[in-house]
């Protein structure tokens, strides 16, 4: 269990992170979300023990983090890049032995991962000779080869085609089953929505909302219906209890006032426009993100 309490990091005249508290549990994916410059990287860096917080505590299984902690952590930074002139297998081994893995064990794991991610035939190629996607896979291996207990993934899916995205996603999910702690930072809200069980939404260094995703959705005014229709949407807009409408020509997400049951809305529009489908929906994480960030700024 990773527990962060009242984390604050100040730079000369900027407060990058302001009084942040959260807990990451075993076998759970923790989504660290927020717009660019929200303080996600600073938070990650303090958890990684790369920078010291101005105040606050970070503990990992009841021990405050120190350099002993290095070997139990795996980190995939958002900006990718490896030693371009070096060979795939050597780069993987270098990062593995830096995590205190014995060389023979590192070689075994390297073989395992190279074959799992279908990179076997490139093992002796230089990094620069690989396609971008394959380079990303090599980097993914370097962050997980030492079997870390805590894995911090910053935009793990960027640069992957759908097939590789699926491979990476399945790999991450297998880590969940192994009981690892995973912090996932991403701008892909649909991906976060499907994978994360807990969320922390940041803006300008401050917590906007946090908690289990299911709870969040319930709290976030769930009175939204999805509507496929033909006709004039002016009618919907003019209904007094329609709080917001997210309109895509012949498709709309309509948020109703909390007191209005969706069937009342259906009754009011029935017969006036042609309805192709009607569904009561929970807010997407994407919507929660956009609305919450807008509210907080």
């Amino acid at each position: 269990m990773l527990v962060v309490k009242h984390l604050t990091k100040k730079y000369k005249n900027v407060v990058a992170v302001n009084d942040l508290s959260f807990t990451v549990n075993e076998g759970k994916i923790f989504g660290l979300l927020g717009p660019n410059g929200a303080g996600k990287t600073t938070t990650i860096r303090t958890v990684l023990n790369i920078i010291k917080p101005t105040s606050g505590e970070i503990s990992f299984f009841n021990r405050s983090i120190s350099s002993d902690f290095f070997n139990q952590i795996g980190y995939l930074p958002e900006e990718r890049g490896l030693y371009k002139k070096s060979r795939v297998n050597e780069v993987i081994l270098y990062f593995a032995v830096l995590k205190n893995m014995p060389r023979s064990e590192a070689q075994k794991q390297s073989n395992y991962w190279l074959s799992k991610l279908e990179l076997e035939k490139y093992r002796n190629n230089r990094i620069e000779e690989l396609s971008r996607g394959n380079q990303q896979k090599v980097q993914f291996i370097t962050s997980v080869i030492h079997n870390p207990r805590l894995l911090i993934l910053d935009e793990p899916f960027s640069g992957f085609d759908p097939i590789n995205q699926q491979i990476i996603r399945e790999t991450i999910l297998s880590f969940v089953n192994e009981g690892k702690l995973i912090i996932l930072s991403t701008h892909l809200m649909d991906m976060a929505e499907k994978m994360c069980s807990d969320i922390l939404l940041l803006n300008s260094g401050k917590e906007v909302c946090s908690g289990p995703l299911s709870q969040l959705k319930k709290n976030f005014g769930g009175n939204v219906v999805e509507l496929g229709f033909e006709g004039n949407n002016e009618l919907i807009k003019n209904l007094s209890y329609v709080k917001a409408i997210d309109n895509y020509n012949n498709y709309a997400e309509v948020q109703l006032a909390d007191s209005i049951e969706p069937y009342i809305f259906l009754r009011d529009i029935a017969g006036k426009i042609k309805i192709n489908h009607f569904r009561i929906i929970e807010p997407t994480l994407n919507k929660i993100f956009i609305d919450m960030i807008k509210q907080s700024t």
């Binding site: 790369i50 920078i51 290095f70 980190y75 930074p77 890049g81 270098y94």
Partner: protein, 415 residues
């Protein structure tokens, strides 16, 4: 923890030793140095190989007879006299006319040069060696010695000492001077080769420092730009990372030197490089290693604060300029090693290695000076590494604008 430092240095070493640029530098640098030294020995040899005609224009005629005798005593390696000395003084003409015709003979190539001696009222001597090409150290040095000797003899006469006594007395001085010279010549060493061999070592040091410094800064910038540095410092402490880099690079430098030394020994065996270049090899090696470590630590500290390749190049070229300074003052350092300027330079950590490499082959450097400069170097290496590690820790994680001096100080102070 030591294990991680070892792994990092091993990686840094292997990564760089296999680059094409490094392998090229292994060959190109010694080739360049050999070219220079061959050029130098060739130059000094060709000057030696033929007898030179030298004129003396001494209107008082008090110096000419003894001077010419002394100069004509110098022999070439083949036994021929080194100089033929001509009297250029024509009593019928005035001094200006005398000089004009003498100058003509020099420009016309009849004379290699001539010595103009003027005795001033207060008994001081004004001596000029006028030749087509300036900078013939050896000739000028011999002429200076000869004048000094003759002047001594004349002033003895003036005091009123028996000429016979003077002769034997002066002769004694003469004899001892010659033995010193012969002793040196037995080692096949002379001023020019001393100078050249020192310059060779400084150039080697320079090239190594500049080359490896650039390599270090470039790889740091690369690691910063693709955030590899963050993965590294989430696997080990910045201190370990820095130590690994310095050790790896130093190992690379030593390896480079080992190869160059092998090439050097082989060439010295075939007498392409003066053997005297290796006289003080051990002590030179010490300065070499210390200088290399010092600059490497400096490069690590500075390299960690730059973000772009461009800035990196700017900074490495500034540092290289400081390194070149000793070469620029090398002539002064050798002709006048006790001057205040050179003394000061030989106690500044930035210039100690180069200046000492220069001095040690040319003049007798006292043990105290050697010990104290080595101590200064060790202390400054320690301090530099300490300060660099403080800067490194923060520098590697900051991007964009270069920090100002004030900001750097706050980085160093930060716990």
């Amino acid at each position: 923890m030591i294990k991680k430092v070892f792994e990092i240095s091993k990686w840094e070493f292997l990564e760089k030793v296999r680059t094409r640029a490094f392998i090229l530098s292994l060959i190109i640098t010694p080739a360049l140095v050999i070219l220079i030294s061959i050029g130098g020995t060739f130059l000094s040899a060709s000057q030696e190989e033929s007898t030179k005609a030298i004129g003396i224009l001494d209107s008082s005629m008090t110096f000419y007879p003894s001077l010419s005798k002394i100069l004509e005593n110098y022999k070439l390696s083949n036994g021929q006299p080194a100089y033929i000395v001509l009297n250029l003084f024509q009593p019928a003409e005035d001094l200006n006319q005398n000089m004009k015709s003498a100058d003509n003979e020099v420009t016309g190539g009849i004379l290699a040069g001539y010595l103009l001696l003027q005795i001033k009222d207060n008994d001081s001597i004004n001596a000029e060696y006028r030749s087509k090409n300036a900078g013939n150290f050896k000739d000028v040095q011999r002429i200076e010695n000869a004048i000094e000797e003759v002047r001594l003899r004349i002033s003895l006469i003036q005091i009123g000492i028996n000429p016979d006594l003077i002769k034997s007395a002066v002769k004694k001085i003469n004899v001892s001077e010659i033995t010193v010279k012969e002793g040196k010549e037995a080692q096949k060493s002379d001023f020019l080769t001393d100078f050249l061999s020192s310059i060779i070592f400084i150039m080697l040091l320079l090239m190594m420092i500049i080359y490896s410094g650039q390599m270090l800064v470039r790889s740091l910038v690369e690691e910063k730009s693709n955030r590899l540095i963050e993965i590294l410092v989430s696997s080990c402490t910045p201190e370990e990372l820095m130590a690994g880099k310095i050790i790896g690079l130093s190992a690379l430098g030593l390896f480079q030197m080992l190869i160059w030394a092998c090439i050097g020994m082989a060439l010295a065996g075939s007498s392409m490089i003066p053997v005297s270049a290796f006289n003080n090899i051990l002590i030179m090696l010490v300065y070499f290693v210390l200088g290399f470590l010092f600059y490497t630590a400096l490069f690590v500290g500075i390299g960690s604060i730059v973000t772009t390749e461009q800035e990196a190049q700017q900074i490495t070229s500034y540092l290289s300029l400081i390194l070149v300074l000793p070469i620029a003052v090398s002539a002064t350092a050798i002709s006048n090693p006790d001057s205040v300027f050179v003394q000061v330079l030989s106690y500044i950590p930035l210039t100690i290695p180069a200046v000492m490499l220069l001095k040690i082959n040319v003049v007798n450097v006292s043990t105290i000076e050697i010990m104290s400069t080595i101590l200064i170097m060790i202390a400054s290496i320690y301090i530099t590494i300490f300060v660099a590690s403080k800067i490194f820790r923060i520098g590697i994680l900051s991007y964009g604008k270069k920090p100002g001096f004030k900001e750097l100080i706050s980085w160093i102070r930060e716990k």
